[in-house]
Amino acid sequence: MTDSKYFTTTKKGEIFELKAELNSDKKEKKKEAVKKVIASMTVGKDVSALFPDVVNCMQTDNLELKKLVYLYLMNYAKSQPDMAIMAVNTFVKDCEDPNPLIRALAVRTMGCIRVDKITEYLCEPLRKCLKDEDPYVRKTAAVCVAKLHDINAQLVEDQGFLDTLKDLISDSNPMVVANAVAALSEIAESHPSSNLLDLNPQSINKLLTALNECTEWGQIFILDCLANYTPKDDREAQSICERVTPRLSHANSAVVLSAVKVLMKFMEMLSKDLDYYGTLLKKLAPPLVTLLSAEPELQYVALRNINLIVQKRPEILKHEMKVFFVKYNDPIYVKLEKLDIMIRLASQANIAQVLAELKEYATEVDVDFVRKAVRAIGRCAIKVEQSAERCVSTLLDLIQTKVNYVVQEAIVVIKDIFRKYPNKYESVIATLCENLDSLDEPEARAAMIWIVGEYAERIDNADELLESFLEGFHDESTQVQLQLLTAIVKLFLKKPTETQELVQQVLSLATQDSDNPDLRDRGYIYWRLLSTDPVAAKEVVLAEKPLISEETDLIEPTLLDELICYIGTLASVYHKPPSAFVEGGRGVVHKSLPPRTASSESTESPETAPAGAPPGEQPDVIPTQGDLLGDLLNLDLGPPVSGPPLATTSVQMGAVDLLGGGLDSLIGGPNFVAPPAAAVPASLGAPIGSGLSDLFDLTSGVGTLSGSYVAPKAVWLPAMKAKGLEISGTFTRQVGSISMDLQLTNKALQVMTDFAIQFNRNSFGLAPAAPLQVHAPLSPNQTVEISLPLNTVGSVMKMEPLNNLQVAVKNNIDVFYFSTLYPLHILFVEDGKMDRQMFLATWKDIPNENEAQFQIRDCPLNAEAVSSKLQSSNIFTIAKRNVEGQDMLYQSLKLTNGIWVLAELRIQPGNPSFTVLQLSLKCRAPEVSQHVYQAYETILKN
């Protein structure tokens, strides 16, 4: 007898026919009809109309029929909640059936019917089943608690099911224990704070005992649960490891990987000097290698995990290079992953073998794989210096094959080799240039252009080559355009006489005819640099390049540590934290490796890595997101990353600032006129700004049209410390409103979303006036500029130093902290001009001990300039006197919290370069004086 007939296509009136059959008296006919209904359901037909008729078949002693009806119920109950109630009685009755299989079936099915009314009736049967004498019923009931919790968490708590479930961890039957652990783990995930899975040495012991006895799946549940436990010291960690290691010989790869996860995690706590540590390392390698003889899909999961393990603990597999050699018949996803791991394991000892393999792979069929192989050769050259020469010659051989994508890929990697080993392999440039015409991919074109620009002085016809690219400038991708622009400027700086025309051409193409702001900006910078100071231009454009790193595509250490905690799971396959692909709160609890603490040692603070340990092993003690944002006070915040306004800008910094701040406002300016193409004017700023003071600001690379002085953006939070998020910023005050101008750059490999910001209490009550608005998710390598309005109504706490501001920024990855010093002048209010009489009275009134004296040196400004400069930052001049050839300015300012500061500024004219300003400040709160002085200095010197 076959069932396939049920799948035959349906005619009209089928539902009607089925209805009749369902109500037939003959059992066989009924069963046939239900089968047809299920078949229709499977292929996606709507058979919900038959609900009452199918439910009528439920009362039967035929188990097969019952199961079919239950299946139907699970599918349709939600759409027919009222009628589903009809089934409740049967369920309740079945839960009392003498046959344990039927009891279990009833409780299992009932949990799958997600209808509120039904769940109420479920409680009593479930309670009984949890204490059933038959383990089969108990293990089913354990999972049912998790089902019920998913429907109605409150009900589960109210009914005390959680406690019953906890009791099941001590059950005599290992499978009941395993299912209880699975259910509790799942429930605990949605209550990160609750101490539901109260793991302690006793319960761990029970789990480890059950581990030896339960099914392969149960072992996985238990191991995954164990991985969440943090042993209290290294001794406990070791004893758990000892009991988990036998699992490495299990035939089920998932058991092996989960055991590896527990071991990798607990190993963190073991001292490297321990004999056991070495033993454990040795024990880990063989099972990992064995995973590679599993089915391809599992191999893939294993390889993705090995990729993480190799990054975390390279020593485990360093001798196992050969097993990662690609087999001709491996599926492509296995091949690509193996290649990745081969590169990570490449070292001086095995490089010859690796290179021979890679060369072999470069002739394979799959384009992606070949490209990756070629790229891998380049990476070997960079990683193992001794092999560089061989790699380059291999790459040249490959270029000779003239296979288009091989050539292009080779050129991209040769560019990196040039960067790593300057002045060593330039002899190959000629060969590269031969292939110029065949390059049709942006990355390869850009790499080639970079090479031509970088070595312009050695390539006789560099100008011709670059000119040939210039013809189709607007059809090129941005990457190529930017590279071409830079390369031609380099060429110009190296051979100014012959290439003037070329450089003008590219500058005008980039600035006038392009819609791309990046390109325009870069064009303007070069243009301005070249016109104002060619020497500086040379220093900027031809600056010494920083070394490129040996390892590429490394996962950031914090993310890596987190992923190690997720070995075996999807997160480890995607190399992304669960929050990146799991919706809602479930399963997104941040996990971190346990800190290495011997029994006596105390936990180290986040700033000090354990001596001798590489930074990757730094313990991660950032608490979980939930309780964090509220309370920053008890956190051990490190020293401020950088003081923003006082830094003097170096040449290189200058270039960066131009990009970041100045030009943006320039281009948006209303009076903007594009610089004429023919003659580059001496002062590019001239046609742009709207006043003398603006011009001054602009030439120093800082553009504000009105309002206080704005310091260039400084990096507040380097990407290294924030899992790839880099934050730089500055503070501005414009027409009475303070804002924090932030620039967020995503230097991680994953998209960032869900940004939020919060300040700790601070001296002046600065607080965000609006939430941090990042509209679109921030993709890798993207930068976004945000102006965050601030107010001063937040809660106040005196900070040390006074202008210290501690900030927490959250995104989907984590919460990060940094602190910064804000310039005090952002707090100077617009109505800070004091009446003359008032000024005199106040000056006298404030005791002399509150007066502070400062000197501002090297400020070649006269009284007018000083006065106007200060006024724009809300420091108001009330009176001016000339005493014995010295200009005296009397000034006042008011802070947002109402504190007045009075100033007497003495200007000694004379030799402009030696002007010294004497500043006397009087204030009722003398502690602000120092910061007011710093504000003066900053404003006047910029």
Binding site: T42, T245, S249, S293, V582
Partner: protein, 452 residues
């Protein structure tokens, strides 16, 4: 955990769909495909469709067995032209999901044979019943066929006595879930097969780039009661350990012992005992099962050596000469020998001469296939071929895939030897001596390639 499980045919039509969790399916790409008259059902259909559209119907070759579509992850395996897909929205244990899918295939195969569209349609009620049993709320449950067959029968419910019922449940949940009590055989018999596949990658110059043996010990047991078994082989670690006591034995057997890189065991083997004493003890399932898998890389006997010689004569001709040498005892015979010599895509004609066996150019496979039925040890044979090529303007050189080989030999290339398999059954009165035991060694080629 697993949110749902779908089985599709090669066209992407759903044969089986079982949803365990509601979270899968909402807002998945491709929702426009279905009319919106059934919003609730449609949610589920969407997950089904997303996989069809993005994976089964994708023109490209499958780039990953795990696909993420709109925050939903799909795990799939393919058996002939049937796709099995597990769907989830959570951070599940990925290794477990694949292991489960394989297990699911095993269970289905044990019930109705080959996994084909026809068989699945014929047994869909059974499959639903199985899915209900072995996966609860997405958590895999006992999936040992032996246990399942005791109560999922498709014969309708047999009137079971109370004892029978509780025996079933205790077996399904018990410590020895893979064996039921009360098995009786008139003749106690067991068969051990040591099945090895030897893998090789050799350079054209004859240098071994990588070689390993992956072996399996498959046991077929027809034993009464609950027998305790102990399995012993010439494992270097065990032999050396014992050797400490009796120096004689070391010198006698030391040479024959092999170094096992790693091994994994069927769940019936007591792993903690293996870990501490390296002894393999277990109560076997009834019938056939895989006792262990192992891997060795040292001192492998490579049964064949392939010596290739490829010469390009101008742009339109290739000359190929391949010599194979058998490298084992002359008294043994290798069987089913097949050498596959790849030819370029632009081959127009091939002339082959071989000393032994039959050789044929198979244009559809782009290879010359040379078959030899039998070959004794320490022999040599040769094939030469002239390949005519069509002139092409394809710049890319021919990739020269490796020459691969298939064979079967009656010994274990790793050198593994079964030393003993002892059976104890304390309750029934048969002893180890009464059990009839058979041991067989088969070495097969895995991926046995020589680059040319």
């Amino acid at each position: 955990m697993i949110g749902g499980l779908f089985i599709y045919n090669h066209k992407g039509e759903v044969l089986i769909s079982r949803v365990y969790r509601d979270d899968i399916g909402s807002q998945i790409a491709g929702s426009a495909l279905f009319s919106s008259s059934r919003p609730f059902l449609e949610e589920r259909r969407n997950a089904v469709d997303a996989f069809r559209v993005n994976v089964i119907h994708a023109r490209q070759q499958v780039r990953s067995p795990v696909t993420n579509i709109a925050r939903t992850s799909f795990f799939h395996v393919k058996r002939s032209n049937i796709w099995l897909a597990a769907v989830t929205k959570q951070n599940v244990n990925a290794a477990m999901v694949f292991e489960f899918l394989y297990k699911m295939c095993d269970v289905m195969a044990a019930y109705f044979g080959k996994i084909s569209e026809e068989n699945i349609k014929n047994n869909f009620v059974l499959i639903y019943e199985l899915l209900d049993e072995i996966l609860d709320f997405g958590y895999p449950q006992n999936s040992e066929t032996g246990a399942l067959k005791t109560f999922i029968t498709q014969q309708g419910i047999k009137s079971q006595t109370k004892e029978e019922q509780s025996q079933i449940t205790s077996q399904v949940t018990g410590q020895i879930g893979w064996r039921r009590e009360g098995i009786k055989y008139r003749r106690n018999e067991l068969f051990l097969d040591v099945l090895e596949s030897v893998n090789l990658l050799m350079s054209p110059q004859g240098q071994v780039l990588s070689a390993h043996v992956s072996g399996r010990v498959v046991m077929k047991s027809y034993l009464s009661g609950m027998p305790e078994c102990k399995f012993g082989m010439n494992d270097k670690i065990v032999i050396e350990k014992q050797g400490k006591g009796t120096a004689d034995e070391t010198s006698k057997s030391g040479k024959q012992s092999i170094a096992i890189d790693d091994c994994t065991f069927h769940q019936c083997v007591r792993l903690s005992k293996f870990d501490s004493e390296r002894s393999i003890s277990f109560i076997p399932p009834d019938g056939e099962f895989e006792l262990m898998r192992y891997r060795t890389t040292k001192d492998i006997i490579l049964p064949f050596r392939v010596i290739p010689l490829v010469r390009e004569v101008g742009r339109t001709k290739l000359e190929v000469k391949v010599v194979i040498k058998s490298n084992f005892k002359p008294s043994l015979l290798a069987q089913k020998i097949e050498v596959r010599i790849p030819t370029p895509l632009n081959t127009s004609g091939v002339q082959v001469i071989c000393m032994k066996g039959k050789a044929k150019y198979k244009a559809s496979e782009n290879a010359i296939v040379w078959k030899i039925k039998r070959m004794a040890g320490m022999k040599e044979s040769q094939i030469s071929a002239e390949i005519e090529l069509l002139p092409t303007n394809d710049k890319k050189k021919w990739a020269r895939p490796p020459i691969s080989m298939n064979f079967e030999v009656p010994f274990a290339p790793s050198g593994l030897k079964v030393r003993y398999l002892k059976v104890f059954e304390p309750k029934l009165n048969y002893s180890d001596h009464d059990v009839i035991k058979w041991v067989r060694y088969i070495g097969r080629s895995g991926i046995y390639e020589t680059r040319c």
